[in-house]
């Protein structure tokens, strides 16, 4: 029965080891704070895989146990006590080497006639079964989750989420309801984005480069908040201005349009690019709605 307890000990220690690796993996995942990225499906999949491996391992231990017990009944005495490590790895004791040495040597190198360790075969057969199941699952039975379908599923999941987001109102800003933002923090964030994404064409200070100057009162596509929003959102592809929809969030585009308006007049006339487009008045004249606002010069 000593044998029995040793075997169960070895099973326990290996189980502990397995669960430890599992735990440490979960730990790394949560450490990076990217747990969600890994996806709940992958997580379940991994857990199933680990559990499956443990189950296979247990079956293996059981089989070994039964074999050992049978041997025990046949009362085959062990010539030498093996270390726990040797038992775990199912190795013959070192003292058996003399018996196992084969009758050839190459430049003095001897070879032993040890059988391939059973756990090695077990691992090999396991991977072969995995490979067969893998091929059958993807290409014979065809649950069809090959990459194109996987992508489609990902996109559909996203679309469903978008609808939910829109219902929650975060995605609903467009040129019809865009509002002027004056929060200094948000404008500063926009200034940062401007430097990275817009300065390439419009200049570091929006003074204009290949793209037009954005601080003068001349506008090619309209200088109202909603016009600027629309220009950023949809771009002017034929002129090289890309559509930022999908790259910047609607909210960010709203902030950016507000930021552009907040820097009006910060670059003196004559510096940067020549004025382009139509002149826009600074403010619609409230008290004189009848006057022609587009022809009066801005202050």
């Amino acid at each position: 029965m000593n044998k029995h307890s040793l075997l169960s000990k070895k099973a326990c220690s290996l189980l502990a080891l397995l669960s430890l690796t599992g735990l440490s993996q979960a730990q790394t995942l949560s450490d990076t704070g990217k747990f969600m990225n890994f996806g709940i499906n992958e997580l379940l999949w991994t857990i199933t895989l680990i559990l499956g491996l443990i189950l296979l391992f247990l079956i293996f231990v059981m089989l070994r146990l039964m074999k050992e017990l049978k041997k025990g009944e046949a009362a085959v005495p062990e010539t030498e006590k093996r270390t726990i490590m040797e038992r775990i790895l199912s190795l013959r004791p070192l003292s058996d080497n003399a018996k196992l040495t084969m009758d050839h040597r190459y430049d003095g190198i001897e070879e032993l006639d040890n059988p391939t360790p059973p756990w090695f075969n077990f691992l090999f057969y396991g991977t072969i079964i995995f490979a067969i199941v893998y091929m059958v699952k993807y290409h014979v039975i065809g649950d069809g989750m090959v990459q194109e379908n996987e992508y489609q599923a990902e996109m559909e999941e996203w679309k469903a989420k978008t609808v939910a987001n829109q219902a929650a109102g975060t995605d609903l800003i467009d040129e019809t309801n865009v509002a002027l933002v004056s929060d200094a923090k948000l404008l500063a964030a926009s200034a940062e984005i401007f430097k990275v994404k817009c300065a390439v064409c419009h200049g570091e200070k929006a003074e204009g480069k290949n793209g037009p100057k954005l601080t003068d009162p001349y506008w090619i596509h309209g200088g109202e908040l909603k016009d600027i929003f629309k220009t950023i959102n949809q771009g002017v592809p034929e002129k090289g201005m890309i559509a930022w929809k999908g790259i910047l969030k609607p909210e960010e585009i709203q902030n950016m349009a507000s930021y552009i308006l907040s820097i009006q007049g910060t670059v003196p006339d004559g510096v940067g690019a020549e004025p382009q487009g139509a002149l826009k008045t600074a403010e619609p004249v409230k008290e004189a709605p009848s006057s022609d606002t587009t022809s009066t010069s801005g202050s």
Partner: protein, 717 residues
Amino acid sequence: MTHIEKFSYDNKIVRDFGIATVIWGIVGMLIGLLAAIQLYEPAANLGNPYTTFGRIRPLHTNAVIFAFVGNAIFMGIYYSLQRLCKARMFSDLLSKLHFWGWQLIIVAAAITLPLGMTSSHEYAELEWPIDIAITLIWVIFGWNMFGTILRRREKHLYVAIWFYIATFVTVAVLHLVNSFQLPISLFKSYYWYSGVQDALVQWWYGHNAVAFFLTTPFLGLMYYYLPKAANRPVYSYKLSILHFWTLIFIYIWAGPHHLLYSSLPNWAQSLGTAFSIMLIAPSWGGMINGLLTLRGAWDRVREDAILKFFVVAVTAYGMATLEGPLLSLKNVNAIAHFTDWIVAHVHVGALGWNGLMTFAMLYWLAPKIYNTKLYSMKLANTHFWLATLGIAFYAIPMYWSGWQQGQMWKDFGPDGYLVYPEFIKTTMSILPMHVMRSIGGTIYLTGVFVMAYNLYKTVKSGRLVANEAAEAAPLLNNENHGKEYWHRIIERKPTLMLVLSLIVIMIGGAVEMVPTFLIKSNVPTIAAVKPYTPLELEGRDLYIKEGCVGCHSQTVRPFRSETERYGEYSKAGEFVYDHPFLWGSKRTGPDLAREGTAKLFKQDSWHYYHLVKPSEMTQGSIMPPYPWLTTNTLNTSQTVSKIKAMRTLGVPYPKDYEKQALSDLKKQAEKIAANLKKEGVRNKDKSEVSPDVEVIALIAYLQRLGTDISKSETTNP
């Protein structure tokens, strides 16, 4: 009655390959260090094209794989083969030809790669004349080896020799199939294959170059040097047989795991994954047989640096060969591919397995052939710790960096937008790890210098036994073998072994490649995809010459995180005119497959400024500046032959198109130059940008990328 024959072993050739191993090892690692530093300090390119990352990255990989590891293989084989066959090498002349031929090839590589002469296939960058030289030298090596085997005085072939034979025959097949090129001139050629098919051939080759140049020969060497150094019997003969045949059979199939989530047909990708998983046990068979051979010698590992090197080398092999299959699982690959994770993975293999095995052999061999003792076991132990620490300092930051950047690329905020839409943010976040990596590399390299000193002192204290006397009985053919294990029959028939190995390794490659080449449905054509214009073609060749593919991939994978960032995912039909394919294997910079589309649109002037000084257009960019592109005149002397060659390869240029190719090229170049002028670009001396400089062609190519299937949204004027 048998008489004993007297003969001698050639140790001089072993010594020569040993010296070459050390020298090229140092060279290869120094170049690696230079490349590593450029990945956080671009100015380390020394301001000229020849030492810029794109060109020295292939130099580093070639130097380490074929010069350092290659010479180590030949050193190890030339010593062990003679003793295992109880025969001198077949021909001293062939040995010499092999040695000097191989060194010449390395020198040719060291000259041509910095000059930008590259075929762009990873680990096979050398141009066609050098490919032919490699073939010749490889035949000489095989001839010499097989001649020795046929003249052996030992009936059966030891397991080490099985691995040598499989190495020889497989590398020959890999090299031949992957070198089908149509020469344009002495140092320029186009691959026969294109797009998806070219990718499959390349990664069938690339993966199996790892298998049959970095793995099987070293397993063979392990089977000789490890039991020798430990003075212990090999653990299991049966395991050797099992893992040898399964390893070489299964390895060949696994190449497509380098192309997961690409436009390679799904069935081929899945085969890559399935066979990679099945590869775990055969690989581990080698590790187990190595480590268990040390049973009873573990007490000596504490003092003996050589055994220590073996233990860590074999363990690194085991780790890398478990990690490889795991990286082939699609969900792991989705995160790790194109990141530094892969760089960490290959360096655990190269620094750990190949490096430490080589050091162990050198330490063991040098005193043997110089009939002396190792100068200092203490220094060897110091080297061991420097090497092990170096690997840790290299690999850990790279794993970290790979994981982090992989996650950042895929990170979506709760609002459904990419958290890091600017690629540069993800790059900047991993630069500290790049610094750490170069420190790790420096530590490892320091160890190699310590070894070089130790070996020098050892050699000085002894005298080369150029011809080591030996004696053995000749082989008798009329022996009765009686009852024996079935495999023993193959072991005494080297030709049968060669043929069987050849058959076994041909199966996987054939099953994967033949259908991909012959069955149309595997590469669905897209009508909108048209051949490159002459200017774009020249620009593409510049892209290849500068090694842009070393940092920029050209294939968008079917993930929302990638289609949001780059646009529509890549389709097989888009690459049919790409000789060679340029998908790349690493994204140090962003993917360029859709660079010309509206989504990623940049003006010609943006590209111009960016190529001249990347950090000006993208703050924090680690891309090196390419000012020479704006002054070098585009060489159009081969444009006509390039068009003709492409037509030969099946690219449908209209009949006689080559006659108008140059004028078309000029027209397009003038258009781009005019754009640049309009957008205010001037040379340093305020002159206008000429239409015949190289940068114009490169801009034309970049603006074309990915536009074919989205013609309607193309905005390039």
